[in-house]
């Protein structure tokens, strides 16, 4: 009985203190307008952001889990800089990035659904998950000026930045005046045994590169064969990002169609590597998508919309080394300019199937399978 009375008293105290705490006043668009992280955002857009922010705070669901192969491992670098700026603009909201992709991500999403314990809110590279019904459509108002071809039909996601797959070289092994400017120059005897490339596997960035170039008739079988003969399997990296690391380590002088922004990030750590202009660079407009059943949907939408704000678009260029997709965003620092008439891997339904077919019919017979 005594214990029961004590419990009742404790409950009454908790209730009283909860009632005594003044309710948090809603944040208005005017409040947000004073925030430097939201400079350049229109009043209407601020009002939309304020609604999402207030809803997130009221629900208490304030942690956004981002699953992406491009998520930063060190939260103070790369996309982490963007996330930290978002957290500063919206105090109380936290973004947790998990670097995960491919089979790992697929297995995790399957398990979260099966266990009923969903944790992921946002996913990068959503193309494979849209046909499986895992993505919730969301059209960020701030993305309205992004070119139409960079919106995935049905508003499943919109590209926020442009990732380049071009040429990177080791600055110690290659003098600036020696850097090849065309594919023919790369494939000259001078560079034999000194060039690497990602091994095509069917789902790697290099497969997307070949699919885009093949689809746009910018590469043919003889050229692919020439590349495969020039860069035999022993010289190929298991992943495009590893190709950049190999060049940074001096294993190879040049990497073809490596992830250029990874090369630039390595250079920012002191590695002797630099991206170079290359006419056959493939640009991939990349974006993040909202997962169905996301545990923090309002906070997730808030982030997805804010990524198109001027601050976020600027940070994409200076910290992620990818140019923002919103027209007028500053170019990525230290990266080659993106040619408007270059090859683009636009977000379109069925790209994964097309890539798989090109890999099976064209690339695999020439390059062989991975070890």
């Amino acid at each position: 009985m005594k214990r029961l009375l004590m419990l009742a008293a404790a409950a009454a105290l908790t209730l009283t203190s909860a009632l005594a705490t003044p309710a948090r006043a809603d944040v208005s668009a005017a409040d947000l307008a004073r925030n430097p992280g939201l400079a350049g955002v229109s009043f209407d857009d601020l009002a939309f952001l304020a609604r999402l922010y207030n809803a997130a705070l009221k629900s208490g669901k304030t942690t956004v889990n981002v699953y992406s192969a491009n998520a930063p491992v060190d939260p103070n670098n790369n996309l982490g800089v963007v996330f930290r700026a978002f957290e500063k603009s919206f105090p109380g909201i936290k973004v947790v990035g998990t670097r995960i992709g491919g089979a790992e991500l697929s297995a995790r999403l399957d398990a979260e659904i099966a266990s009923g314990h969903r944790q992921g809110d946002i996913v990068g590279s959503a193309d494979d998950y849209i046909p499986r019904g895992l993505i919730e459509p969301f059209d960020p108002p701030l993305a309205r000026n992004v070119p139409k071809e960079w919106h995935y039909p049905g508003n499943y996601y919109t590209a926020a930045a442009l990732k380049q797959f071009g040429l990177v070289y080791n600055t110690r092994l290659v003098k600036p005046n020696e850097v090849p400017r065309t594919l023919d120059e790369v494939l000259s005897p001078k560079w034999r045994g000194r060039v690497t490339i990602g091994q095509p596997t069917g789902v790697e960035p290099i497969d997307s590169v070949f699919a885009v170039l093949w689809d746009q008739k910018k590469i043919d079988r003889p050229t692919l064969q020439k590349i495969a003969d020039f860069i035999p399997r022993r010289d190929r990296a298991p992943m495009s990002s590893i190709a950049s690391s190999w060049v940074a380590q001096g294993r190879y002088a040049i990497a073809l169609w490596a992830t250029s922004s990874v090369g630039r990030q390595l250079a920012s750590r002191g590695a002797p590597i630099a991206p170079a202009p290359f006419p056959r660079t493939v640009t991939n407009p990349t974006g993040h998508a909202l997962l169905k059943g996301a545990p923090s949907p309002d906070a997730a939408k808030l982030l997805l919309d804010w990524l198109f704000s001027p601050t976020a678009q600027r940070l994409y260029g200076s910290a992620v080394y990818e140019q923002g997709a919103v027209p007028g965003s500053p170019p990525a620092i230290g990266m080659p300019k993106i040619a408007p008439d270059g090859a683009f891997q636009n977000p379109v339904p069925g790209f994964s199937e097309k890539r798989r077919k090109i890999y099976q019919d064209v690339v695999l017979p020439i390059f062989g399978s991975a070890t």
Binding site: I113, S115, G116, Q249, G250, V262
Partner: protein
Amino acid sequence: MSQPGNIHSLRWNAAPFDARRRLAGVAGAARRVAPWLPLALLVFLLLVWPLVKLTIGAFSTAAPLDASGHWTLANFAQMWTEINVSHALANSLIYAATTTFLAVSIALGLCFLAQRTDAPLRQLVTPLMLVCAATSALFYAIGYSLLANRFTGVINVLVENLFGAPALFNVESWPGLIFVDSLHAAAFLYLFLAGPFANMDRSLEEAALAAGASRLRAFFTITLQLLRPILSSVVLMGVIIGLKSFSVPLILGTPADLSFLTVRILRTLQQYEPPQYGEASALAVSLTVFIGLLLYAQYRLVGRRSYVTVSGKAPRQTRWELGAWRWPAALFILAYALLGVVLPLGAIVFSSFLPFPGVYDTLSLVNYRALFANPDIDQILLNTAFCAVGAGLVGVLLAFAIAYFTSRARPGVAALLRGATQLQLAMPGLVGSLALIWAVTSLPVVRHIYGTVWLLVLAFVVVVLPVSVQIAGSAVRQLSRELEDAARVSGASALRSTLQITMRLLLPSLLFAWLLAMIAIMGDLDAPLLLSSAGTRTMSVHIYKLFDGVDQAQAAALLSLLLGFILVSVSVFGVLQSLARGRRLRALPVNGAFS
């Protein structure tokens, strides 16, 4: 006396008597079995159920979580074609055989020198082996990659700068892979051998010597024969380690264009969207069956003999005097120290001060500063410590319970239970985690632990169980039952004799197994890679993600910290072991390993 009527009446009365006796028998059996039922159920859920899910996956066109799949045998056909075209099967078998031979030879040699001879530096061997075993194969592969890759390896750059010679060593080659994995596997195998080697009674050897046998003959005919159970376990373990080896073939084998079974499984999962679970499961199930057959062969070979070498009497432990061979023996130990520990781990520590591996211009603490500027680092360290201590202890206690039960159970039941504990060994890392996910999420209540630290604890218990059961089994097998019987004859209850005699005698072995479990968990990547979520990331996953990204030097910094943690753990164990020794618990299986 025996009239027909009486006979009938006896038969009539015997029926209920037989039934009562049968009932009493059943009740007695139930009483005997009841205490062990939770143990058997736990083993089933942790070890057998994931395999069941994996087997379902192998015969299905979709993952077990996906109800749309149907039964098929095509996965096995595809898997068979795949592993033969890529030479993965042949490569893995050759790899397992060669690494086992080399690793067992190194482990036996070092064990003999450290435990049975007066070789100089012998005191260094066990701590060296502990550090080497504690370093996960992934980090070992990274260490050797940083040390001896033909492009930027520290040793090759040094040689080039000093002598202008081209790269001397290329660890990314067949000999390189075998060398690195054998060095690493030797440390594990040594830890299995050290205790039995140290505590074996030398009186049998001396009897052989007195009867005119040479030392060499005594070693082969007496010493090795007495060590047959542990040696067969060690060889089996070596083969399994070789077959399951993943990190070294992945990191050092891929640049060498060499294909192995475990790497093929990863590629099978990576190359398709959604991943080809069926083919990967088929390969994993085939490996499980193969390893199951090996375990059965081992059971047939040694399972029915008695190898009790530790009894109530203290063993004689005089050392062999090596004479002129003392210094070559010391050189052998020194070479292992250099190649197995100092050079690869030194390369990691050195690289942690570089801006980027291969860039030797400046040395700084920038990677350590970046590491501690990470707001998540506290959580990562806490998760790792919690899992290492908690899951390590649970796993080891479970292992000793299983070992104790199997030593008292019928041979068939014991072999079944022991076999079940070894199943995890057969599951290649990534698939093992997938199987656990499938198993956990298929159970109504348990599935809610997905995404929490408890799932990691469960996974780590599964990871450490096979090795812990091997250690516990060796320790329990060498304890004579007469010690407990003596206590019971003296009036002690069964529980008291178990706790006060058996458990006390097993305590150093238990502590040793716990230490190994902790360091194995700290370095394990396979389990947490798929199972850890945003808030439950461990150090090994963070290191791998850093290395896989653009922060290799920061990965080296965190790895250096992890090595520091392991050294602290080993030191704490050393203190505990000294305390145990102080309490006169000398006559124990692994006691000698640290003498």
